[in-house]
Every structure is written in C-alpha cells, then in structure tokens.
Subunit: 205 residues, 2 copies
C-alpha cells in the first residue's frame, strides 16, 4: 500500500508517520521510485502498536523505542527478555539511584508475601520498582500494611498464573505476548480496579 493508504488505515496523521520513520520506530517502506515507497501489513500493525504504547499506555517515545527494540531483538531466554522489557517500563528511569532507599520496603514486602514469591531477588527489575512504589506511598503517608500487601501479592500472582496459561508456545510469540501483555493489560487491570472502586462508592450512596 502507499503511505496515504497507511495513513487512512491507521488513522495516524502523515506527519506523525514520517516522524516515527525518522525516529526509527517504524521501518521505512520499500522504495519503488524516487519519491515513492510501498508499505504492508507489518507497517500497519507496528504503527498500531506504537500508538497503543504512546497514547494508551502513555509511554514516552524513548521507552516505546526500548520496548520495540526488545521485541525485535529478543536475546536470551524469556526471563532475561522480560527483565529488559520491565526495565524499559520503569516510571522513573533514574530509580536505580534511589534503589537503596526502596530496597528496604521491597524486602519487607517480600517477607510478608512468604513462599508465593520464592524466586524473587533484589536484582529483578520489578523488585526495584516495587520498592520505589512502596516508598512513594509511605512518603505520602499511605504506607501499605503487611495484610494488604499479602492481598495484593496473592491476587497479582493469581492474575499472572492465568496469563501464563495463555502464553503462545512459539518462543518469539511468547516474548511478544509477555512484553505486550505487561504493557497493554496493565491499563485493563487498573481500569477494572478503578471501576470496582466506583462500584463500591456507588453502593455507599
């Protein structure tokens, strides 16, 4: 298809499509003339993915690029690839600098969680993020008690197990599923929790 078809099919403006190509997020089309190039379904699906990561998941371009790179170059096994994707999703890219502060919170949480998170260690990217998130809540006067952490941890693990049973068997598809599932399903879970809050508040009226 021509670039104009790509624009129409994706509903992404031409200037934005060209910007993504310049920034290396979207591969250029195959040149078919001095000023013409041909695009295909892969460009369209990549474009939809970029829009979902930036507009829906609210990720900045730099992190979107890291995630696309991880999908395109899944070096190592699932564990390593997932770690790189999680790292690219960090809310605060400088979190490592404070990780000594957050680590204590994450360790306390893991102690409360017990055996359910038996493989966790401080080198896991999500461990750092957990510590930072717990620290931020504590700093704002909203410390999370051990019982609530156990509830969160249990339900998060149940969700993760349900997701793992849906993992595609082919390794490349599995990597893409786990990375995109982390990014794209998180807003679904967050929206359901917010909807649950609104339901409970409606019941109080």
């Amino acid at each position: 298809m021509k670039i104009s078809d790509l624009v129409r099919e994706s509903d992404v403006p031409l200037a934005t499509v060209k910007f993504y190509i310049r920034e290396g997020l979207l591969p250029a089309g195959d040149a078919t003339g001095a000023r013409r190039a041909e695009y295909d379904e892969r460009h369209l699906s990549r474009l939809r993915l970029i829009r979902s990561l930036t507009v829906v998941a609210g990720l900045p371009l730099s992190r979107t690029k890291s995630i696309l790179d991880t999908i395109d170059h899944p070096d190592g096994d699932m564990y390593e690839t997932l770690g790189r994707a999680i790292s690219a999703l960090a809310a605060d890219p400088h979190a490592d600098a404070h990780s000594a502060h957050g680590a204590r919170y994450a360790e306390d949480a893991l102690a409360a969680l017990g055996d359910e998170y038996h493989a966790s260690d401080a080198r896991m990217e999500a461990f750092t993020q957990l510590g930072e998130a717990l620290r931020a809540a504590a700093v704002c006067g909203l410390s999370i008690d051990a019982e609530l952490i156990r509830s969160y941890g249990h339900h998060a693990m149940e969700i993760a197990r349900a997701e793992f049973t849906r993992m595609p068997p082919a390794p490349e598809a599995a990597v893409e599923y786990s990375i995109l599932g982390t990014v794209l399903y998180e807003p679904v879970i967050a929206a359901l929790r917010r909807l649950a809050h609104q339901n409970l508040a409606a019941d109080l009226r």
Copy 2:
C-alpha cells in the same frame, strides 16, 4: 522553615520548588519580609506528594494539578469526587472522542463479569478507560478472552474490597485516601504483577 530548609528536607531542587509555586501546585510561603517567606510541614508534605505523582506515578503536571485540585476541593460525595480523580488519571485526555469505539469492548467485558460489577454504567469514568484499554489490546492483536476478563475483574474487586475496609472514617481523609490510593497503589500492584511474571519465568528456566 526557610525555603532552603524545604529544599534540604524534600531533596527537591530550589528551581523546581519555585517552579511548582509559580505553577500553583505548591502554595507560596507566608511572607516574613521583602524577599523571605516561611514554610511549614504542609508545604513539605505537599511537595512530597507532587514528586510522587509526577516522578513515581509518571503523571504530567497538568494532571497532577487536577488531582491536587480535587483533593483540595472535594465537592460532592465520595462517588463524585472519585469520578473526578479517575478522570484526571486518564492516560488519554482525549479518550472521550473515541469512547464510542471503546464502549462496545467495555460492555462485552461487563457482560462477562456478571453481577460482581452490578453498579457499573457507561457514564462511569473508569468504564470509558476500561473500553479504551481493551480496545488498545485488541488493536494490537492481544484481545482478552471472557475467562481472563473474569479473572481480572474478580481479583480487582477483591483488591478494591480490601482497600475499602481501610478507608479512614472522616470524609476529607477518605477522599484523600481514595484518590491517593488509586494513584499510589496502582504502581505497587503493577510491580507485584511484574514480579510475579519474573517469578514464573524464573521457574521455567
């Protein structure tokens, strides 16, 4: 305390503190002279809150301001205030424009969820966000089947119930708890789910 003490205590640079005051996120101190002002604990806790919302939750300044406004002016009951806060947290502030597309996904999800979300309706802010999040996943080829939606919905409701039992009884404290809990606990739950994924991937090695 002087502004220099506020900077030291909060670990936020002076230029940033002044920027927050100019932007109306942080109230100015009480003037004690032509070029001096006095700050107190409320300034310090507000500053920590701004940092958590922007740096940890990754919210842009405009949305951080909306959330602070909602906390400062909790008009209406819990249900209305929570709705305004959830609206301020929308990943895509223009989501209303597409809501007709997302609504179908949200309605299908609610049909799968059954009675557990009996109070939901299409005017709920979280309903729109759920539709947008489901649509984004579907557009990227990662549609969520009814069984996984039921699992998500059930665990999200269990989490929300555990949180509601911790709501402070005073109305103003309850509003602040529910708004901050939405913002600050979401990254904790997301981090635990990512940690659960890393645990399950580690078990596969």
